[in-house]
């Protein structure tokens, strides 16, 4: 759990911070490009500054689960940070506040990026797990179908491609999706402060 962030043991604290940064760095970065319209390099710098600032300001420790989800709290902190940075630098010309204010619901943007990151990490975990369990073919079938960018092949086409029965295609897909879900939830559990927050975030993760 992310509660280890304020653990007395340095190793636990460091591991928790690594998990935290791994999970939220990309969503924060992409949020800055989408919501605030920042160019890539500026967004990267700001994201790094934000996380470095978090570490010193103990912002995470001020989070109260009863008041809402952690990623929403983080998003609000990020918005406040961006506003304060640009106001302080009198560099408002570099930031189009009108674009930011007229963009779609910022909470939805951050949620989407967070979902993207969690599922990306879970996919990496699934690939590794499939390899460990000698289920590489299952992962390949899953990749060919569920990760298809354009038209998805039919089950029959996949069966032909991989030299397996069609029923096996169904089984492989079911197995992969089940494991993907489990791995995504495991990632989520490692990022949640409390049991209650974990259940809430799990609902949000799979809500489209």
């Amino acid at each position: 759990m992310l509660a280890d962030i304020d653990s007395a043991q340095p190793e636990l604290r460091a591991a928790a911070w690594d998990r935290f940064c791994e999970a939220y760095w990309q969503p924060a970065f992409r949020y800055l490009t989408r919501r605030w319209g920042l160019p890539t390099d500026r967004a990267e710098d700001l994201t790094q500054e934000f996380f470095t600032g978090l570490l010193s300001k103990e912002v995470v420790e001020r989070y109260e689960p009863a008041r809402g989800s952690f990623h929403n709290y983080l998003r609000v902190c990020l918005d406040n940070y961006v506003r304060s940075r640009f106001t302080a630098q009198k560099n408002a010309a570099a930031l189009d506040f009108d674009v930011a204010d007229s963009s779609p619901n910022p909470e939805e943007i951050f949620l989407r990026e967070w979902q993207r990151e969690i599922m990306s990490m879970a996919l990496q975990d699934l690939e590794a797990f499939s390899g460990e369990r000698h289920k590489d073919v299952a992962f390949q079938v899953f990749s060919a179908y569920d990760l298809a960018v354009e038209d998805r092949p039919s089950y029959e086409e996949l069966a032909l491609r991989f030299g397996i029965p069609t029923t096996q295609v169904t089984n492989f897909l079911a197995w992969s999706r089940r494991e993907l879900r489990r791995l995504a939830l495991e990632r989520l559990a490692s990022l949640s402060m409390t049991e209650g927050e974990y259940h809430r975030e799990a609902r949000r993760l799979f809500a489209e």
């Binding site: 990309q26 992409r30 989407r112 979902q115 993207r116 599922m119 990306s120 996919l123 990496q124 569920d146 990760l147 298809a148 960018v149 079911a174 999706r177 089940r178 993907l180 879900r181 489990r182 995504a184 939830l185 259940h199 799990a202 609902r203 993760l205 799979f206 809500a207 489209e208």
Partner: protein
């Protein structure tokens, strides 16, 4: 790793949210919606050749408690629970009667007459009163948790955070009052608005007052002025007023005849 494209992300979220029914006698037919604590799916029961609603939650304890709560309440306003079980992916589920219809939020349209609005509210209130009599209080009553079926039946759903063996019905009473305000048209009669704003000790008291209003009697939470009392009496005795008016008109006519 390249970020997941939006269509792929949407697809993955959808397929991982779908219940794995491979170890059950059910076949997925569609997604109905999100309940408070889980998602609800339309599935086909191959044993009885019928469609039922299946609710899934990854929190196993919560789903069993929710199923038990709904199962102990046998009432026309509560969807009966058929069975509970465990999915292949470890999530718990329970099945219940599938109700085709619309939510209360969709059913309350500007053209809906007052009589029907009150019928809908009274149906919910009767269901809640029954639940309270069994020591259960809902705690999440809102228009989206109420279904109006195709046959006009009103069903209260989502007993996910319901409390059993409870005598504290304050939340439900407040929610029911808000629901009445929601059901009423913008220019509702003052007694009805008074009922929606009153603090009742029980659902039964609120139901009685609404019935009194429907019967043309004074409601307990609204103090009528003399004019309002007269107006209510005249509404309830229109035929008598008409006859008295006819009598007075006849007498005046006779006076007129005598003078001419």
């Amino acid at each position: 790793m390249k970020p997941l494209a939006d269509p792929i992300l949407s697809h993955l979220l959808r397929v991982t949210a779908e219940p794995d029914l491979s170890s059950t006698p059910y076949r997925l037919a569609g997604h109905i919606g999100q309940g408070g604590m889980g998602s609800i799916w339309e599935v086909e029961d191959s044993r009885l050749d019928r469609r039922v609603a299946l609710k899934v939650l990854h929190n196993g304890t919560a789903i069993r408690e929710e199923a038990k709560t709904a199962a102990t309440l046998e009432h026309p306003g509560i969807a009966p629970v058929y069975e509970t079980g465990l999915l292949e992916d470890g999530r718990s589920y329970y099945t219940m009667r599938l109700i085709r219809g619309k939510t209360l939020a969709e059913a309350i349209t500007p053209e809906l007459p007052l009589r029907e609005r009150l019928r809908l509210w009274l149906s919910v209130a009767e269901t809640l009163d029954f639940a309270h009599s069994r020591g259960v209080h809902h705690r999440d009553l809102k228009p989206d948790n109420i279904l109006v079926g195709d046959y006009g039946e009103v069903v209260v759903l989502d007993w996910g955070i319901a409390e059993r063996n409870s005598t504290n019905h304050g939340d439900d009473l407040a929610a029911l009052a808000r629901l009445l305000s929601y059901c009423l048209p913008p220019k509702a009669a003052k007694p009805l608005r008074a009922i929606a704003e009153a603090n009742y000790d029980s659902v039964r008291q609120a139901i009685k007052d609404v019935h009194r209003f429907q019967d043309g009697a004074p409601v307990s939470t609204y103090r009528e002025s003399i004019l309002e009392k007269l107006w209510r009496w005249s509404q309830n005795n229109q035929a008598l007023l008409l006859l008295l008016f006819a009598y007075a008109a006849a007498k005046l006519f006779l006076v007129f005849l005598r003078w001419t």
